[in-house]
């Protein structure tokens, strides 16, 4: 036995340095490996936290966008009601029908006979027609503006509130691994209280009850200027109609330069916010604009004043009016398009489009277009599902602006 020990001992002794080296190398190799492993786990954990944080912010933001669509949807009936009551096109149409009935009962001949014996009802009828013309254009164009304003404003409102809900969610999210901090050492400021949230949302009362009238008045002036002089008998094509509406838009949006006054429909003048709270139905003790609410309103106003907001609003208007024009198209192109559809198998697609572009569509007197225009308002405010709301809610620039609003928790963003 001892011989074996001696032999082993001798062997070890002779190769001591080599064994030291071996041990040292293996040992430090192991330590290095452990260190790398530790670093890797740390990296993994960090990445996992980041991934969770990212999916959290994305999910919440997208949910917030959906909430916007829903919220606007719930406000639209009020807007529609206001428009239908105040700009009662249907009443005028009924009056018009009454005069027609009266005429047929009275045994009068053709409607357009000049110098007919009974001038009184004829004149009234023309007046009614003129009024109907202006009112139809005003109502439909106003509705497009108002729906767009409501959508954009609601996006701003909910993105701002959503920001605070998100920040609150981060507390809950980081709660699990750092309980001590939640007790209040870090990030002492709580988000927005329920009360402030309710008060802040009440401000959509303003556009629905005050601002909309200003908007309608502004559109009315423009319509009067542009459409007022156009005869009811004027032959109107699709392109001509688009041009007319385009002119109205120019007047409405450029009244004070870069449509800056459009934002005045959305919030009351500074300092008059408490009136809105009172009228908007917040309980009696809630008429005060406290610091928390003031901060929200200030930030909203900053956004409303920004050139980005104007740009986004403009492109939303463009999108909304494009949509309106699309609704008008079938009236002028219905026959051609259905004819083309039947030919679709034979005609090449490229030719098809060319054919379409050259085509000016049907032409009809302005009086014939008016019922179409006035009916369109139902698409804008009453549509189920509302395509204006759906399309505008996916407007990329509006969503990008919402991102800016949503992520604006830092004082310096870049």
């Amino acid at each position: 036995m001892s011989v074996v020990f001696d032999a082993v001992g001798g062997f070890l002794n002779r190769n001591r340095r080599k064994f030291y080296w071996l041990g040292g190398t293996v040992g430090s190799g192991y330590l290095l490996f452990k260190y790398a492993q530790w670093k890797w786990t740390e990296f993994q954990q960090r990445r996992e936290i980041e991934q969770t944080a990212k999916s959290n912010v994305k999910r919440r933001f997208e949910q917030n966008l959906q909430d916007c669509t829903f919220a606007v949807g719930s406000l639209l009936p009020t807007l529609g009601e206001n428009l239908f009551n105040e700009l009662n096109v249907e009443l005028l149409t009924a009056q018009l029908q009454q005069t027609r009935q009266a005429k047929t009962e009275g045994g009068e001949g053709g409607e357009d006979q000049p110098g007919a014996p009974v001038t009184q009802p004829r004149k009234t009828k023309l007046e009614i027609w003129e009024e109907l013309k202006l009112l139809s254009f005003t109502r439909t164009i106003s509705s497009v503006y108002l729906v767009t304003l409501l959508i954009v404003f609601t996006h701003l409102q909910l993105s701002l509130l959503g920001r605070f809900f998100y920040l609150d969610s981060v507390v809950a999210f980081s709660q699990t691994d750092r309980e001590q901090q939640v007790r209040g050492t870090v990030g002492g400021r709580k988000g927005v209280s329920d009360e402030t949230e309710r008060k802040y949302l009440t401000f959509s009362w303003y556009v629905l009850n005050v601002g909309w009238k200003q908007c309608v008045a502004q559109v009315q002036r423009a319509v009067q200027e542009v459409v007022g002089s156009i005869s009811l008998k004027e032959v109107t094509t699709y392109d001509a109609l688009i041009e007319i509406i385009g002119k109205v838009r120019e007047k409405v949006e450029d009244e004070n330069g870069e449509n800056s006054n459009m934002t005045a429909f959305l919030l009351p003048e500074e300092g008059k916010e408490e009136d809105v709270l009172r009228a908007g139905g917040v309980e009696t003790d809630g008429f005060v604009v406290d610091k928390e609410l003031k901060d929200l309103l200030n930030e909203t106003r900053d956004f409303l004043d920004s050139s980005d907001f104007r740009k986004v609003l403009k492109s939303c208007f463009d999108e909304a009016f494009d949509l309106l024009f699309k609704q008008l198209r079938p009236t002028f192109f219905a026959e051609q398009e259905s004819r083309q559809r039947s030919h679709i198998a034979e005609v090449q697609e490229g030719e098809d489009i060319q054919d379409n572009a050259e085509n000016k569509g049907k032409a009809m007197p302005l009086a014939g277009v008016i019922p179409v225009i006035s009916r369109l308002v139902h698409h804008v405010v009453n549509g189920v599902p509302n395509i204006f709301l759906e399309i505008l809610s996916t407007q990329p620039e509006l969503k990008a602006l919402s991102v800016v609003m949503y992520t604006g928790w830092e004082d310096h963003v870049l």
């Binding site: 980081s174 920004s306 990008a400 800016v404 928790w409 870049l414």
Partner: protein, 343 residues
Amino acid sequence: MSNLVKKYEDFVLHNAPQISGIESGLRSLTYILPGRFNDADMASEAIFATVNLMSLYHDTILSAAAHQQNPEAPTSNFNRYTRHMLLSGGWYKKVAYTLTMVQMVEVLVEMGARKLGGRKGRGRVVLGIEVIKVVCRTALLKLSQNRMLLHSAVPERDYDPSTIQPPTTSKPGTWTGKRTGKHHVHVDVITQKGGYDQAVQFLLSKALTERASSPVDLLNRLGCHKWAEWVFIFRPLVYVLTLRRYGPKSYKPYLISLTLELGSLLASLNRPQTSLEKDETKRRCWLLLYYLLRNPVYERFTKERLDAFVEGARKRPLISLFAGILRDYQPLWEKWHFYTSGY
């Protein structure tokens, strides 16, 4: 003068890739220089300090452009905090840059002082630099309302200068709210390359991993624990003073310094910390390794083993490379105070 500065800044903005090439070229030169020729150390250190100062200056020019071109690039918590503090105005920026520059040139200054003023001059300069650092750090602690000091007061470079395009417009990337004074990014900036998809990337880059809507919340305000920070700030100065009093052979400076540092560290470890603070504490733990390189422990313990290791590793592949670097740098930390004590 300001015209010249403006011109240079313009030049940097338009030639960012070349400039970063020069920087990294010079930097790699400093890795091979030590021990090559007489005064190579000082030359290398001079280049090193210059490159660092240059990068620091270029960062102030380029980082804004980089962020405007890549708004969706995520920002580390460290950079979020330091950048915010620098932008907070007042004295913070001046003090932070002073401290950073002093840290960059301290070794070089020490070398120069040794050359010109001998042992005595060097001692005075070392003391002076430590005093300046204490003053700066105290000021930063006060200005940040008693928040832990991070290893650097200025942001790290978190972009690749070689990818920076020459600016096409002078349009600023952000706008400022009149009422809130907040800065917001322009919609164009976050949609310039990829439309809404890019905006989503921007959104994701802002995702918070902890409750810190304002970057200042990334660090706790230290209440009763602030003494630990005071200790950490004054520790290097105390070390130098005791070193002057007792000499490098004595264990007293070494032990006093070690005790102070451990005390400060334990206090940090025993309070709830944010992730940024945890990172900083971890880094400070690693700094304890420097105690192996400080006298008298170095002379009596580490040096011998280090020499043996370098000697033994000479003939072995792979580690000989590592040992070679070690051997080249060995004289540096043996000779210069700030190599092992300057942090």
